[in-house]
């Protein structure tokens, strides 16, 4: 198991390297595009362009250019956004905790509620509860997150803000956990709920389908023949084996969200996370930031992938390396 983990970690490095090369090539070696002009932002001065050309060695060979870019990004960390004239790396580092807070909280909510909904629907199969839960799940999947977020804001921030239920809701924004935990929590409650709605619906449906499929397995019949209670059969046998798919999906979605996939939620709720940063850099065509967020996102997605593989081996002994 340990060697498997090490092998997986090494593989992770290889993938990250490949992604960085790919991103580099897209930004610096696309034919017919002058990367210096691209990076300089809108209406650059001739001097800025000259500076950039020198900084990134744009007159030198490709491997050296790659090395210089990596150096600016990870070693000297002085990559500058020419749009906002700030350093990119500190900006991303300060945005990361915001995104992590948002995604972690939403993940807790969506895991708990999707398991409850999925198991509920599977247990009450054949009754009216099952279709009701599944229709709710489908509605959850179908609601666009930006629309839902705006409606939530409309209700909690303006229309019904004076109503006692929502009067506690603070203005949009983010307060670090270390600074004021209560404020942190209050500001994130609605973003969490909004972000998790889609995933609750999706995961509940996947889990229900898996549970029903597992229910027909021979080993579930064996479990019943052993004299186990229905509750134990459900939790220790049916649910346990159904969680394999659930967990692998979860790892990937979690990685994508931390890597900037929660963009819409962050924009709607004004959370200064990586998604909002990406959004702003995209609208401003701020190339250094886009480049860095792409690599940052790729890092989290591949990391999540690696973790899923390890978790998978733990959940399913059949894929465990001998």
């Amino acid at each position: 198991m340990a060697t498997f983990a090490i092998r997986r970690a090494l593989w992770l490095l290889v993938v990250l390297f490949a992604i960085s090369v790919l991103v580099f090539l897209i930004f610096f070696a696309t034919p017919g595009v002058d990367p210096a002009r691209q990076m300089a932002g809108r209406n650059p001065s001739a001097e800025t362009i000259k500076n950039i050309k020198h900084e990134f060695g744009l007159d030198r060979a490709l491997p050296i250019r790659y090395g210089l870019m990596m150096k600016h990004m990870f070693i000297s960390r002085d990559l500058i956004s020419y749009g906002s004239h700030t350093r990119v790396i500190p900006e991303i580092l300060s945005a990361t905790p915001v995104t992590l807070s948002l995604v972690f909280g939403a993940a807790v909510i969506w895991v708990i509620f999707s398991i409850l909904t999925g198991v509920g629907a599977a247990v009450f199969r054949g009754t009216v509860i099952d279709p009701i839960l599944m229709i709710l799940a489908l509605i959850g999947i179908s609601i666009p997150v930006f629309w839902l977020g705006e409606v939530v804001n409309l209700v909690t921030q303006s229309r019904l803000h004076d109503f006692f239920l929502f009067s506690w809701v603070p203005p949009l924004g983010y307060t670090p956990l270390t600074q004021d935990p209560l404020m942190w929590f209050e500001q994130l409650v609605f973003p969490w709920l909004t972000l998790s709605v889609l995933y609750i619906g999706f995961y509940a449906r996947v889990l229900r389908a898996n549970l029903i499929e597992t229910e027909n397995e021979d080993y579930i019949r064996t479990a019943r023949a052993k004299g186990l209670s229905e509750r134990r059969v459900l939790l220790r046998h049916t649910l346990r084996t159904s969680m394999i798919t659930f967990v692998s999906l979860f790892g990937l979605d979690f990685g994508i969200l931390v890597g900037g996939g929660a963009l819409l939620t962050e924009v709607v709720f004004g959370l200064p996370g990586v998604g909002l940063l990406t959004y702003n850099s995209l609208t401003a065509l701020d190339l250094p930031v886009i480049m860095t967020t792409v690599i940052y996102g790729a890092f989290f997605i591949t990391l999540a992938n690696a973790l899923v593989d390890l978790l998978y081996a733990w959940l399913d002994p059949r894929v465990r390396p001998a």
Partner: protein, 342 residues
């Protein structure tokens, strides 16, 4: 005579479907005495497995309808609550299933799965369940049980997994062991080993065994009494000698005739039973086997034959033919080479 361990009285199991009521088991009665080995034979769809699943009340289909009585040690299992039934499952009546490849949970070690059953039924101290599991694995012939106990099912071969299933079934010393085609999914040499094991364990544990199979060779080896099922009913019942040497029902003849035997001159070809089993929704009038029976005559399509003793003690059959007719006609089906040479 002492009270039988298990006594099934007029058991009917049917399923509500869109096309109508499927009568999978249509009024069967039999008894199993303590320590007895009863073989139930019949082709696919004859209701063997449904009968056994009903004994454990393991059918989860909400459209199932049970009728009749299943008396186990004098208690009617049909009237038990789910909780009381759980006490019976695994502890009093245990079951071995057909496919050992899929009958064990792939995500737990075999030790965990055996211990789970022990802990469910007994109040064991830490470590006791594990020691008992190791003993059981040794008894069913798993080499190095102390190490193999921590392996997962996928690390065992099919035969070894079936041994694990048997260890699991025997873990609480059940009085009745139901084996639902325990050797069907295994290759022939392993089949023989598993049957041998079943015989030895029956001796050591003293459990009664109900063995379901479509292979008469299997029951010939270990069964004391044999029930032949067709279309949800018992068509013939008797001890081993009666069924093999004096079979009364044309369906039994067909089954016997379709076995390749090495102890007799080689026939030109094996006989088969023509046709398909009848629909269990619209049973034909009269005898269910009539459409496939080469011996059928007028009475067969009018009157449903009852299961009665005609030739001897405990040898029952459901056929309208007279005993003499049966004895003169059956060789043509079972041993066509004799009939041809005669």
């Amino acid at each position: 005579m002492a009270e039988p361990l298990l006594s099934v009285k007029d058991l009917k199991v049917s399923f509500r479907t869109e096309d109508g009521l499927v009568r999978a088991v249509d009024g069967i009665s039999f008894t199993v005495d303590e320590g007895d080995v009863v073989g139930i034979v019949g082709e696919s769809g004859s209701g063997k497995s449904v009968t056994m699943m009903s004994l454990m009340r393991l059918i989860t289909d909400p459209n199932v309808i049970y009728e009749g009585e299943i008396l186990y040690k004098g208690r009617n299992l049909m009237g038990l609550s789910q909780d009381a039934m759980r006490e019976v499952r695994g502890e009093e009546i245990a079951m071995i299933f057909q496919d050992p490849m899929t009958s064990l949970n792939p995500v737990y070690t075999i030790g965990w799965q055996i211990e789970e059953q022990l802990n469910e039924h007994y109040d064991l101290k830490k470590g006791q369940a594990r020691r008992r599991a190791i003993d059981l694995l040794a008894q069913v012939g798993i080499p190095r049980p102390e190490q193999r106990i921590d392996d997962h099912p996928h690390q065992f071969s099919g035969g070894m997994r079936q041994r694990v299933m048997i260890a699991l079934a025997l873990s609480c010393n059940p009085d009745l062991l139901i084996a639902d085609e325990p050797t069907t999914a295994l290759d022939v040499t392993i089949q023989a080993q598993i049957l041998e094991l079943t015989k030895n364990l029956k001796r050591d544990f003293g459990s009664a065994v109900v063995l379901i199979t479509h292979d008469l060779g299997v029951v010939a080896d270990i069964a004391d009494r044999i029930l032949v099922m067709y279309a949800g009913r018992i068509v013939e019942e008797g001890n081993k000698e009666q069924i093999f040497y004096d079979p009364q029902h044309p369906y039994t003849w067909g089954l016997l005739g379709s076995i390749a035997r090495l102890d007799r001159p080689k026939p030109r070809r094996l006989t088969t039973i023509a046709g398909q089993p009848p629909s269990l929704i619209n049973r034909p009038r009269g005898c269910s086997f009539r459409p496939r029976c080469p011996q059928a005559f007028e009475r067969c399509s009018v009157e449903d034959p009852a299961l009665t003793a005609k030739v001897g003690d405990g040898h029952l059959d459901a056929c309208h033919l007279s005993v003499e007719d049966k004895r003169t006609r059956r060789d043509a089906t079972i041993r066509p080479e004799l009939a041809e040479s005669a």
